[in-house]
Symmetry: C2
Subunit: 230 residues, 2 copies
């Protein structure tokens, strides 16, 4: 490949961080994400996803983790590559391809969050007018989250190791943006087989403390089962 | 971002092309892919995925399509981003990040394939010793295909608009690498609701010509259904 062709290209790694925090008006768990205010052109003064140029000596995920630690103080376990965004016109001037990761943050991880300079958290559904094509990227990540929660146990990534079914339902409600019927939800989740009771109960809450569950990722999820020929 | 940091980075776009072709020994439909023999260092003489450097004026998918047209003559409709591979040590010398697309080719598209210079097709499960980390990439793509076929109608991408259930089963058998019981397969696929009868039958084959089906992607697939509260 010729050096001339590649000269103007740079590669950035950015991350969409989703955590559940109470909505400021309703108090209900809501999907939030941290953004960083740009302090130089292009798009100086606008909010953008935490990210930065890929360093020579860094793998892609390592670059995402380094930026997250610097801007938010977060060191999440769940980090997954989301998509590479590389449209020719997505950044004025130089050609910049962004490889975007996403992470779902547990409450105990979120408790460690420390906002870096120029960092603020926003309800994910309400952010508009971000730098570059970051509106599109946030929308893409939310769509992926909403799709994936219907066929995978990704919701568990928002919870600590043990959780009640009410807490799990609140995750689904936050992600899907609507209230769910508790009895139906309980029946469907238990039929799916992705959680199992721990035998313990949430203490200190009521006369009938709710049962605690944990992920049961060893069991296959309910999808098309292909039976082999005998 | 500093020019110094980005100087040695280049970005390639490669594509894993899967098509069903008869296995040379068994004659059964098998997953094949085209590879290109490298004519320069690094890895001169080894086989690699079709790919090339990202050009300044090309979007990512456009780059993948241009390489495919040049090397294989293919212009597939189904083209999806697979993953970005960017480990520091994946290429000797310059840092190269590869954004990999994948495509599943229909028989009528595959019939248009013309092998370019230094291009050959191989059974996907049998390729070893490719250039760079392309063994890992092919394995990753096969794993994704095998996972996705169990929860999405991706198998249809290997077929023309109308197909028999036996043809659809052959796709599953080729991807999963094992024979499936026809009656069980029929029951499970129909329960899944992703195909619907066209009302037509395959002609000229037998006394009882098999029914033709088509994709029914408008219907939701069988996953966790979240009912809203009343």
């Amino acid at each position: 490949m010729s050096d001339t062709t590649q000269q103007r290209l740079s590669l950035a790694v950015s991350t969409v961080v989703f955590a559940l925090r109470p909505h400021l008006r309703t108090g209900r768990p809501t999907v939030w994400l941290p953004l960083v205010r740009r302090i130089r052109e292009p798009y100086e003064g606008l909010w953008a996803l935490p990210g930065g140029p890929l360093e020579d000596d860094q793998d892609l995920a390592a670059s995402a983790r380094a930026t997250l630690a610097r801007t938010t103080g977060l060191a999440p376990r769940y980090l997954e590559q989301l998509y590479a965004f590389g449209d020719v016109d997505r950044s004025p001037g130089d050609r910049v391809v962004s490889i975007v990761y996403w992470t779902l943050v547990r409450p105990d991880e979120d408790a460690q969050a420390i906002d870096g300079e120029n960092v603020e958290w926003f309800p994910a559904d309400e952010v508009r007018g971000l730098a570059f094509d970051h509106d599109v990227i946030v929308r893409y990540a939310l769509d992926r989250l909403r799709a994936k929660i219907t066929y995978s146990p990704i919701a568990h990534a928002f919870l600590t190791d043990e959780f009640t079914l009410a807490q799990l339902r609140e995750v689904y409600e936050a992600v899907l943006g609507r209230r769910l019927d508790p009895a139906n939800f309980r029946r469907q989740i238990l039929a799916q087989g992705t959680v199992e009771p721990t035998g313990r109960h949430l203490t200190g809450t009521s006369h009938r403390p709710p049962a605690l569950y944990r992920s049961n990722l060893a069991r296959p999820r309910a999808t098309l089962t292909i039976e082999e020929t005998a």
